[in-house]
Symmetry: C2
Subunit: 456 residues, 2 copies
């Protein structure tokens, strides 16, 4: 796990040099040196099945993506103040994947930069700074994005909700106020959401934007009831708010049924933001919006992004889109995701600690609970499962406000066999833990091991 | 300049697909397809001497930097939740270039992300949101960074100064209220700056941060009087504000006399931000701060940056530092910059339109004026010079609030011969323009040609 170097072990040097706000995954941190497809390899050559890195969307070190980057790096990497074919070709191909009214692209270097720009676009178009956001959401690491991320501002070190931020309820069918898949569940959440928006509008603070993920991720892989996102965007539109779909975690075919998670929900955003998987690890983000919003934003203040839309980033983004199409990864995600969900649901029959299994395509989660009736979250078990699975060569992570959701969002090349191995490993670890608890006559305590965070 | 493609020319397609807030350089936009060293090449094979892209710090497509990126891209590109040698080695090498109290590094994907994080660090450490900034400064493209950038909030489309932003005067020895290089000039600006900070502190709004570039760039390559930055930081410290040196434009040896522009000014920041040249075009930024500030920021809220500090970015950043050292680029910038400044100052004798020549190392500017006595800015001449120089194969840009400053910040491999060619081209174009005006009996009007912006 560590290398002997002047100045101490790799872990010691890292702790001395890198900001302490940055966490490492797993009780025994991994020293990963190579990746290929859905697999990572540590310094000792040990192989790990990667079930968490949605950033490596088309597979770690995908040769076609790597070669596209290499060819362009050797030629030219410069900014968008000159004409370049690749950035235009990329914008053409990307916008062609979206509904026709989403036709103008901006390129950034991260999902955070994309969400920042989306908020600026909406604010300039509406003249209103207020943003409506979903409870427990996370949208990025800038000042303003932390301010609209309840996951952050209500969490440790958070400053609470600002007056210009409106929080609508998280539509959680398992743990929320309104539960199940019934026709009235979406409407029950939407009714409460409209009340929040209406009240602030009546007070003279109508939202200028409503931002949401179609499948809230850090909230614990929540699959909202059908119609929720479309209804939420309608509620915002009623007050003139620009609907923003944050596809940073869930875009690019991961949900299987559609290229975009908002599409799978039947919603119609006026701004879509992208990040993480868009460049298969290369720092890249994008915002696509309507002509009207783009024109309103062109108010004389230039938006320039030094690296955004450079030829290397564009070549890499274009290659990722090519691989998704040519390798049929969207359909693969649908099929493999269904197999994975099926396997996890079978496990539920054997393990009472699995309270809920949910997901769409290759964006999947399951909740660990102390008691199926009370749904009491079991964070300690989740942490223990993740650490023991890592020791068995299967990389998972936890998420959700109670840290009890196992989050699964592998590279899209994750195979059916990989899904089976993941299910078998969860089965084996939960069986092992149950057996050791039964022998000891105690339940796992609540002390958590190495922190496993979420937003990777 | 354009390629025939389905859907129209490259320029037409770009205008249809990319956000209209993004400008192109030059009246006849360039279609650049290749770069090497200090040179760019267009689609017709025409060579241009690049005098403006400080991002391509060690030269366009530098083989060592490209190969470092390639080798790592082929192996692995993932996040900082695993141990990796390269990011730690990079942090070691980068912090070793800074004063000893600056010892903790954070990696981002751009200078904007770096400045955002710097403000969040200062705000968390002090508990105070107010930021003191220098007039006409630009610090990045996020909501908060636009709010602290007078260049933006006082410019077209700007919303004006917010109450939590304090603006101190730009120490412009040529055009400001206090002029020249006398010993009292810095103190005159500092006295006014202290008055701003003191007044806000007395009103209960003491600044939590004071941010400045040691050589204000978009303000027009302003070289402040000696001692100014150290004095400004002291003025902030008197109120407990964290001093932030924004080295995004001017760092990494460009000023010649020192690796950092703040060092050349004898200032002592507690946070330093970096971007643009740091990755030679690769999306990369960094923040380095003190242990105390880093510890205060670790208040329970994680700072995670999906792409920040990934092994590819770190390998590229490390290679850039290696090239700067091994090719002696800091000393080269000092020598070549002096030659360039000397040449431009000689031109001043022949061309009354050159009102001022200034710079440090390879960060140089000169002002075009209608009248040396009144210093009336001549934006039309600046624009004409830049466009005609481009037609002669020499790329320049304009900057400054009056758009009359010619900004020069070439790749650091820019040679003495390149400097001579730049001077000769400026001489030839100004001579040509003077002669055509004399023949026509008119002065250039004020209509500007293709917009040449600044922040590239």
């Amino acid at each position: 796990m560590t290398s002997i170097q002047p100045g101490g072990s790799l872990l010691t040097r890292r702790r001395r040099l890198l900001g302490p706000s940055l966490s490492l995954s797993y009780r025994e941190p991994l020293h990963i040196v190579r990746g290929e497809g859905a697999y990572l390899y540590d310094a000792d050559g040990r192989q790990y099945l990667d079930c968490v890195n949605n950033v490596a969307h088309v597979g770690h070190a995908h040769p076609r993506v790597v070669e596209a980057g290499i060819a362009q790096m050797r030629l030219l990497n410069t900014n968008t103040r000159y004409l370049h074919e690749t950035v235009v070709a990329y914008a053409e191909r990307l916008t062609a994947l979206l509904p026709g009214h989403l036709e103008v692209a901006y390129f950034t270097n991260s999902g955070s930069e994309a969400n920042e720009l989306a908020l600026r676009l909406a604010r300039t178009a509406t003249g209103r700074p207020d943003v409506a956001t979903v409870d427990v959401a996370y949208h990025g690491n800038t000042q303003r994005l932390v301010e609209i991320s309840p996951y952050k501002f209500n969490g440790p070190g958070g400053a609470g909700r600002r007056d210009d931020v409106q929080v609508v309820p998280l539509p959680d069918p398992y743990r929320g106020r309104h539960r199940g898949a019934g026709a009235g569940v979406a409407e029950a959440y939407l009714s409460e959401s409209r009340a929040v928006l209406d009240e602030r509008a009546a007070a003279g603070h109508a939202a200028g934007a409503v931002i949401a993920e179609a499948i809230p991720s850090v909230a614990g892989q929540i699959v909202p009831p059908p119609g929720w996102l479309a209804g939420l965007f309608d509620a915002g539109r009623a007050h003139g708010a620009v609907p923003i779909a944050d596809e940073v975690q869930v875009g690019f075919g991961r949900v299987g049924a559609d290229m975009w998670a908002f599409g799978a929900q039947g919603a119609r955003p006026d701004i879509v933001t992208m990040g993480k998987p868009i460049g298969n690890g290369h720092p890249l983000g994008a915002v696509v919006t309507t002509r009207a919003i783009a024109d309103a934003f062109a108010n004389g203040m230039e938006y320039f992004n030094t690296f955004g839309g450079n030829p290397v980033s564009a070549a890499i983004g274009l290659a990722v889109l090519g691989v998704i199409a040519d390798e049929g990864l969207q359909e693969h995600a649908r099929v493999t995701g269904a197999r994975l969900l099926g396997g996890l649901r079978e496990l539920q029959a054997d393990h009472v600690s699995i309270g809920d299994v949910r997901g769409v395509g290759l964006f999947v989660g399951f909740e660990l609970v102390r008691d199926r009736a009370t749904r009491d979250p079991h964070a300690a078990l989740a942490s223990e499962l993740v650490n023991r699975a890592a020791a068995r060569g299967v990389l998972l992570s936890t998420d959700g406000p109670d840290h009890n959701v196992i989050k699964i969002k592998p590279p899209m090349v994750f195979s059916g066999g990989d899904a089976d191995r993941l299910v078998e490993t969860v089965d084996a670890v939960l069986t092992e833990l149950r057996s050791s608890q039964e022998q000891a006559g105690t339940a796992l305590g609540d002390s958590r091991g190495g922190r496993i965070d979420s937003m990777s």
